[in-house]
Symmetry: D2
Subunit: 142 residues, 4 copies
């Protein structure tokens, strides 16, 4: 189900996003968009540049909500695997992430995402598969 | 060059590691080991479970120091790409990461890593290629 | 350098393409297109369906010529790594492959490709990095 | 179910293996081994060196039979995705492939494989996820 504006607002208050500097904008019809305005503590070892793992986190979570927009109410999702490339250094934020589902086969969802810097240069490109799962309080998801 | 105990101690004081809960133990001869004791703010959306992007960050940074142990003094390194799999939920920390170089071809280094939970179950498996680069104050590295 | 029509004709006569059923159509400006009309011997274990490794081969070789179109005369290229996804069974050929460079950083080229069946469904999606290398008679390339 | 010696002999007669030069030796308990003695027609563009797509095919099919050894009788399997790295040129055959399951989660199987040349150098390293599926005459599998 597409995320409502209210759900997105609520979601954006989570501690992980606050720590990193992530804001989700939209998750609908298998696509999602977010922005990374990196917090200082995740810009290491190069000041002003988010760590590559932080860029991955943005891609993974943005993909997850794109997948959730395809799932029935009450379901969760889990990353099966994800490949990421770093074509250029991530120097000029804010960084914009777009995730786009390429195919759904049953509960498996194939998805791509990219992060571009303020000048439009791609700084991270991802390709992943997710599984839509039963949501459990203890499930690994998103 | 292998990292000295002093270098590792100094390194472990960085803000990213403190925020996430990473401690590097060793980086020598193309291998490195670290532990993740996840901070509460990176355990989301499931309480007690580090986000998949955090596991990726542990793998990426542990690999990076394994690669640095192969590089000449004064060099840096950059992740070209990395594939990660999540075979099982990451429920029981602390989590132990081991990175092992599989091959070096000039300045390109091929490397694998895995994270195991306290019971020994693999919760993340990664395979990456890195480039050893000239270190610059603004370089994207580690 | 872009491949000329004559170069492409000559190239298409190679034994690997004949054995598999690959035809390259174009390689220019970092992009390339090809078609797979799979030979019976590579349709196994399911009659009429090319093996997943054959789809990978189409993606890898089409990417390679897209990369070659960016390289200076006399150079070669080598796949560093490639991730492939199989979103749907490859049942209805001929299959069309499109490779598109996403970024070039020095001698490293980042590239994506997809194969679609006759109805337009994506049956394979790839993401790779290549290195442009000195061409040597013994080089691993294309 | 583990493959019997008779099943393996029968399997090795398939047209794809004959065209490429693959021989499967063993598939039991989530692991499998094979050898590639590359046929001339798949050694292109460098004479004597199997194309990277051929190395991928060896990895993919060897992994598939490792997965099949874990599946109940009558099931099939399908590659969801696979990442491959090429650390060194594949010059000295025959090439030996070993696939090893890292984890099974329900019908999803995580697996790694490597191909080594006659001197023991790794020439291809793969990491994949497979799904165990209902076997159908038209299924994309192996």
């Amino acid at each position: 189900m597409d995320l409502s504006a209210e759900q997105i607002t609520q979601l954006n208050a989570n501690p992980l996003y606050a720590t990193i500097g992530i804001e989700l904008h939209e998750a609908a019809a298998g696509c999602a968009r977010s922005t990374l305005t990196p917090q200082a503590q995740v810009c290491w070892p190069s000041a002003g540049q988010p760590h590559g793992g932080i860029l991955f986190t943005v891609i993974d979570t943005t993909m997850a909500f794109a997948v959730m927009s395809l799932a029935e109410a009450g379901r969760g999702c889990a990353t099966v695997d994800c490949s990421i490339q770093y074509p250029a250094p991530a120097r000029q934020g804010p960084f914009h992430c777009q995730a786009t589902t390429t195919h759904r086969a049953g509960r498996t969802v194939f998805i791509r995402a990219e992060i571009r810097d303020a000048s439009g240069t791609a700084v991270a490109l991802g390709q992943a598969s997710f599984r839509i799962i039963e949501a459990k309080p203890t499930a690994r998801a998103a």
